[in-house]
């Protein structure tokens, strides 16, 4: 039966508190008492916040919305790991049964130059939106498109495109990367659209535009740590990065063979 464990836990939290973008910020210590192992991590924070409100202390600000692991809103480094110690989930799906009584937990926001902190654990991920705006789409207009079955799409490609499209845009890849690189995020979109005939038409223009925007936003480069893949809540593979690099190289024109120096 569910709800196996009946004993509750007491934990010590070290939470990043920062009033706004200009504040320096620091870790504050709070007690989390009588925490049920069936609670989600965010429900544990709800309990702590209710306690802080009672004490007249401003509750901890954190982004969250769907609480079922799909909206990509939650964004917490838990004990130094994006979305915490469990695999293939976001913080809202992390459950307290992964911790034990007496544990200390460190909770920090995503750390990246391109993701400025707005308050406490809340950051600005507008950079990811701007990358999609640069060319993360097909240019199909509404109406005037062919029947959905007019262009067959091989099952293998459709499945691979879906693997890439599963990205929730949370930014865990960036937060996990020692270089704060957004290569996994960008390559997932390039892989998703590039593997479908509907998106392949614009593949070259897309990869150039999106990589340029990624660089302009101040994300670092990829040096093959694979922390992004290890911490991606949707299991997106770093092979998409290789695929993106290949697509990018294809767009660089070869130098003319007989170019002369000084010509």
């Amino acid at each position: 039966m569910g709800g196996t464990a009946t004993t509750t836990m007491n934990l010590t939290l070290h939470v990043w508190r920062q009033k706004d973008g200009n504040d320096k910020g620091c870790l504050e210590q709070y007690d989390a008492k009588d925490i049920s192992p069936d609670m989600s991590f965010l429900e544990m924070l709800d309990v702590v916040n209710e306690d802080l409100i009672k004490q007249g202390i401003e509750p901890i600000v954190f982004d969250h919305d769907c609480r079922e692991g799909i909206c990509g809103m939650c964004s917490q480094m838990i004990n130094g790991i994006a979305h915490g110690p469990d695999e293939l989930i976001t913080a809202c799906q992390l459950h307290m049964r992964k911790f034990k009584d007496g544990d200390s937990i460190f909770i920090e926001p995503w750390r990246a130059r391109a993701f400025p902190v707005l308050k406490d654990l809340m950051v600005d991920r507008g950079a990811l939106d701007r990358i999609i705006q640069s060319y993360g789409y097909t240019s199909a207009k509404t109406g005037g498109v062919p029947d959905g079955n007019a262009i067959p799409v091989g099952k293998q490609n459709a499945d691979l495109a879906m693997d890439a499209a599963a990205c929730i845009g949370c930014g865990a890849c960036v937060a996990s990367c020692p270089n704060a690189s957004a290569m996994l995020f960008v390559s997932a979109k390039i892989g998703h659209l590039g593997m479908l005939p509907q998106g392949e038409v614009e593949a070259a223009r897309r990869v150039r535009a999106m990589v340029a925007q990624m660089d302009a936003e101040g994300f670092g480069n990829c040096t093959n740590h694979y922390e992004c893949e290890a911490n991606c809540p949707k299991g997106i593979k770093a092979t998409f990065i290789s695929r993106m690099n290949r697509e990018l190289i294809k767009t660089i024109p070869c130098p003319p063979r007989e170019a002369k120096a000084g010509a």
């Binding site: 919305d65 909206c71 990811l128 939106d129 199909a140």
Partner: protein, 638 residues
Amino acid sequence: MILNGNCPTGPITQKWDKHRQEMKLVNPANKRKFKVLVVGTGLAGGAAAATLGELGYNVEAFCYQDSARRAHSIAAQGGINAAKNYPNDGDSIFRLFYDTVKGGDFRAREADVYRLATVSNNIIDQCVAQGVPFARDYAGYLDNRSFGGAQVSRTFYARGQTGQQLLIGAYQALSRQVKAGSVKLKTRREMLDLVVVDGEAKGITCRNLVTGEIESFWGDAVVLCTGGYVNVFYLSTNAMGCSVTAGWKAAKKGAFFANPCYTQIHPTCIPQSGDHQSKLTLMSESLRNDGRCWAPKKKEDCNKKPGDIAEEDRDYYLERKYPSFGNLAPRDIASRAAKEQCDDGRGVGPGARGVYLDFAASINRLGEDKIRERYGNLFDMYEKITDENAYKVPMRIYPAPHYSMGGLWVDYNCMSNIPGLFVLGEANFSVHGANRLGASALMQGLADGYFVIPYTIANYLARITPGKITTDHPEFKASAEAAKGNLDRLLNVNGKKSVSEFHRELGKIMWENVGMARSDASLKDALKRIPELRDEFWNNVKVTGSGSEVNQQLENAWRVADFLEFSELMTRDALHREESCGGHFRVEHQTEDGEAMRNDADFCYAAAWEFKGVDKAPELHKEPLTFENVELAVRSYK
């Protein structure tokens, strides 16, 4: 007042074509002179903003999340319906139309539903062109699955993430317009008021959720795509930020709120595990394609392990009660049947509020790999939450609030009774009647956004002068001051109870009294307790922090304050509707075997309520529903 839905005349198959011929157009060169505000960036809002921007209008799009990609449409799992008839199993536009009208228990507007069924096919084509990776077969063609309330396979899907993929499609189309400069995105903004000038919608008042600033925005039309209100029950499958605020503020400015008592309680959600719980998680209805619902026949078996209960001691209650639809009975019916088992003392799991959804037979027939391919992510999610492996033991499920069929009243053009105020998707009341069938919400959101509003908004805009009223108008200042006054009032109560304590209490009142079974007595009890709780809220709520910064407590406070008003309207509507239909079940009105009993003679209308003041009774306006193409029949899935 008798309301007119403004449906075109003529045969139902030709109404939309005829209407498109008759509506006014805005010349391409003039479109950029008009500004349209789109509130919400889910399927309806994202699609509408992208399409209107593409047509050349100046669009400003608003969402409370940090990105337009995160609206709660993203959480829809199972699929989207369309009448493509690719499987050659007898589907047609008329059949989709008929199933939807019947599924809604004959309480929807016929013409709107027919239009929805007609454009459903365009939606699939559009999404494919955007790169939505729908499931495909080895020949490369689109795959379909079945959903509740239908005997054909018409549901298109992208693993268990269909809503996410459709929303990303709309978000990418929207992003393309942002780059083109036709759409300006305003994220982390929440609408706090509708600005009405001389009876027409002319703008909105928002709070910037980062700086706390109260901001005014003018538009020649306002399009609300702000979703549903089932967070009124506190625990629901909705996202934490979903609220009735935008719709309710519009209602307070004169927009009629229609059928608020029609709420959908989804049958397959993970049961509540304790009081700490902040939300309930849905398990897609598509699971009922391969899962069988059962409860123990004997009460003494309820605490046994499910594997220890003999086959003959299991009651496959849906298959027993509804042999022709079996486990794919519609949501309202499946939910009530689950409640019936638990009320009979045969529920399982914590609090005995649960029934089994068992995959053993399908795993035996198809193999575990096939089940994993179809529903792997759902099984994973179930395990993360419950710590149970549903490949080995049956899932436990229980109904939870999921969707609101009611919403702001709109005519055939998706325009409310306030000219210039359009309402799309879940936020309006139009097509699902008293119960929504699975895989129809995504269909409606995208139909309204991509294929309805682009036509009907022109018909309104062509009659007005663009940019005539801007934020200089005194109404904007008055609205901003009122919004600010309201926030200050919340911050200054400085009481003892937190916002979420009030929300939980309201949710409890609503779930117990206005939930799956409603009686005259329970509704009257709610009508007594809601105003008391509201009164206590305004005297004893504690909201920390200030108004000039990120303040999530303040955000929750105004949402709960609006729920405390809206819940009363919802209860009144439920009390006035002396019949059972779809998701609205009045215990006084049921057949001998416990099925809903409609009263077509007295209640075949949409109830549109006009706000008259917080402590005053609202005024009821009726829009009679006429059915020319389907016969009003007893809805049977037996």
